[in-house]
Amino acid sequence: MSIDFSKEVDYVARLARLKLKPEEKEIMAGQLSDILDTARKVQEIDTTGVEPTSHVIDLPTVLRDDETGSSLTLSRVLQNAPRRQQDYFKVPSITAKDNGINAGEEA
């Protein structure tokens, strides 16, 4: 049974913060539906009692001494900033009403 992905595309693109053109959405709906049909084959396997893999090799937790070391200088950290003001990354206002970022759709 195929999943009709066309209904999901807008919702998932919104979660992923990807602005897609209408023609991209149409192509993607078909392709994602095919890919997910293949991916869903994992559900055919009985995994009762199987632990999910978290790391392929059992490693002890990596700890280091709590000592400060050197880190990148501010100028290097900021060297690739598309927009900056003094020593800050510059972004549009995040408190404007229409920003949508706090609309709560992921809740």
């Binding site: 602005k19 890919i35 999910p52 392929v56």
Partner: protein, 493 residues
């Protein structure tokens, strides 16, 4: 024989005996690049001045009697998802088109310390997502064996650079086959090391539980030499394996008597190109004739492995690529609100395959689907690891084809992502298990294209894989490692 036709071990010997200067070696490869690059497009960024400067420093240090690393002065090409300080690193994506890393990847620090001149940064599928290098945001790379064919991917530029004699050594990265598949399609030796063998610090992340850096070379010895240089614990990567690293050249030439070889039934499939299967089985007979014990083994979860991979890798990618938001680095599309800026930047900055994977991953991780998709895939991954553990109780190495077919045509699979994904079918379960996996050339098709064979070992057993590869190099019919490149305007070089 010209310098560019020699392998890294030969160049290393000549340099150490002072028979040739590092500057001459680098210049020979730069000339070759100038001749072929317009046709092959293996590189995104060229660094001739930097390479010559490193070479000249190596020459003066050698003339001063300093003890140098064996590979000092032997040039290398670097996949463009490995961070190089002060040198543009794009991941073949518009979103990082002008990104200049503020630090070196740990493998680059190791190469610089040893004095390997860097010839440039190589083309790839955008963010290493693809199997043909056609997903580069800039241009596709062409296979030097036949310019109408893809070189494989995602490390296609690195493979072509070595195959065409534009570099003796290259670094690639392998998430689900991205070193082994292009090595197979270009006739090279390409190694995906054990997960954690090589530091991932500075490798721009695609799927962190799967990504590994590894060498693409013409011979097993070259592969071992480069692996020696990049392996080892790194405090900057908490998944790097602690412990001693062996000298991977030590076992070369030790033979294969009594080696227990398992031929993976699923990877010599009747559905594959018959020439591929025949070439693999011929190499297996050669091993048997020289004292190896050969039997068949089944890895029944191969198909489900592909399904699990296309949930796990996109899920991790959707999370890793969340960082490209136009704030700290990369392309910024502008916008009146921050949400508009994020969405437009990402919508315009990423190419189609990257967007597809972000969408699949976001979907698989979203509320209500996590258990059915991502968690289930991670459980299947555990079952695949158990199958490998069982197989390695019976066998020392596992063998099969690297790819179901030789190199396919440019454009052949670009409209059908699933068909493209299937070209990695033999590579993916090794990645999921985290075991080392090597592709070596094992023949030439009737069309004149290289055929590849994949040898898989248990954890940390790269030395055994390279030993088998060097045995087959010596005992097998020797493959012309580098093609005559037929230029479009006529003539072969």
């Amino acid at each position: 024989m010209k310098l560019f036709q020699k392998n890294a071990a030969e160049l290393s010997n000549m340099l150490q005996k002072n028979e040739v200067s590092a500057v001459d070696v680098v210049q020979s490869f730069l000339d070759r690049i100038e001749l072929l690059e317009p046709h092959l497009k293996a590189f995104i960024t060229h660094t001739p001045a930097m390479a010559l400067q490193t070479a000249s420093e190596v020459d003066s240090r050698r003339n001063n009697g300093e003890k140098l690393h064996p590979l000092a002065g032997v040039p290398v090409a670097i996949k463009d998802n490995i961070s190089t300080q002060g040198l543009r690193t794009t991941c073949a994506s518009h979103i990082l088109e002008s990104y200049i890393p503020p630090y070196d990847a740990s493998v680059i620090t190791a190469l610089k310390r040893a004095g390997l001149p860097v010839l440039g940064k190589t083309n790839m599928d955008e963010f290493a997502m693809g199997s043909s290098t056609e997903n580069s945001a800039f241009y596709p790379t062409r296979n030097p064996w036949n310019l109408d064919k893809v070189p494989g991917g995602s490390s296609g530029g690195s493979a072509v650079a070595v195959s065409a004699g534009m570099a003796p050594l290259a670094l690639g990265s392998d998430t689900g086959g991205s070193i082994r598949q292009p090595a197979s399609l270009c006739g090279l030796t390409g190694l995906r090391p054990t997960y954690g063998r090589v530091s991932r610090y500075g490798l721009i992340a695609f799927a962190s539980s799967l990504d590994q850096i590894g060498p693409l070379t013409t011979t097993a010895r070259d592969n071992a030499l480069l692996l020696n240089l990049i392996s080892g614990y790194d405090p900057l990567d908490s998944t790097a394996l602690p412990g001693e690293v062996p000298d991977f050249t030590e076992d070369l030439g030790r033979g294969i008597k009594n080696l227990k070889v398992g031929v993976i039934r699923q990877n010599v499939s009747e559905g594959f190109d018959p020439e591929v299967t025949a070439a693999v089985l011929k190499a297996v007979s050669l091993l048997r004739d020289h004292g190896a014990e050969v039997d068949e083994v089944s890895l029944p979860l191969t198909d489900h492995g592909l399904s699990a991979y296309y949930l796990i890798a996109p899920s991790e990618a959707s999370s890793n690529l969340g960082r490209y938001d136009g704030v700290r680095y990369g392309y910024n599309a502008g916008g009146d609100s921050i949400d508009e800026m994020f969405s437009t930047t990402r919508g315009r900055g990423f190419g189609p395959e990257v967007k597809r994977r972000i969408m699949i991953g976001t979907y698989a991780l979203s509320a209500g689907y996590y258990d059915a998709y991502y968690l289930q895939a991670m459980k299947v991954r555990t079952m695949i690891r158990r199958d490998y553990d069982a197989a390695f109780k019976r066998f020392d190495i596992l063998i099969g084809a690297t790819t179901p077919t030789p190199a396919f045509n440019i454009g052949e699979k670009t409209d059908d992502p699933l068909q493209m994904y299937l070209s990695d079918i033999c590579n993916i379960t090794d990645s999921l298990a985290g075991v080392p996996s090597l592709s070596i050339p094992c023949g030439i098709s009737s069309e004149g294209l290289p055929l590849g064979m994949q040898i898989t070992g248990s954890y940390f057993n790269e030395a055994l894989l390279l030993r088998v590869a060097s045995f087959l190099e010596e005992a097998g019919e020797s493959l012309p490692m580098r093609p005559k490149v037929k230029l479009p305007e006529g003539g072969e070089v």
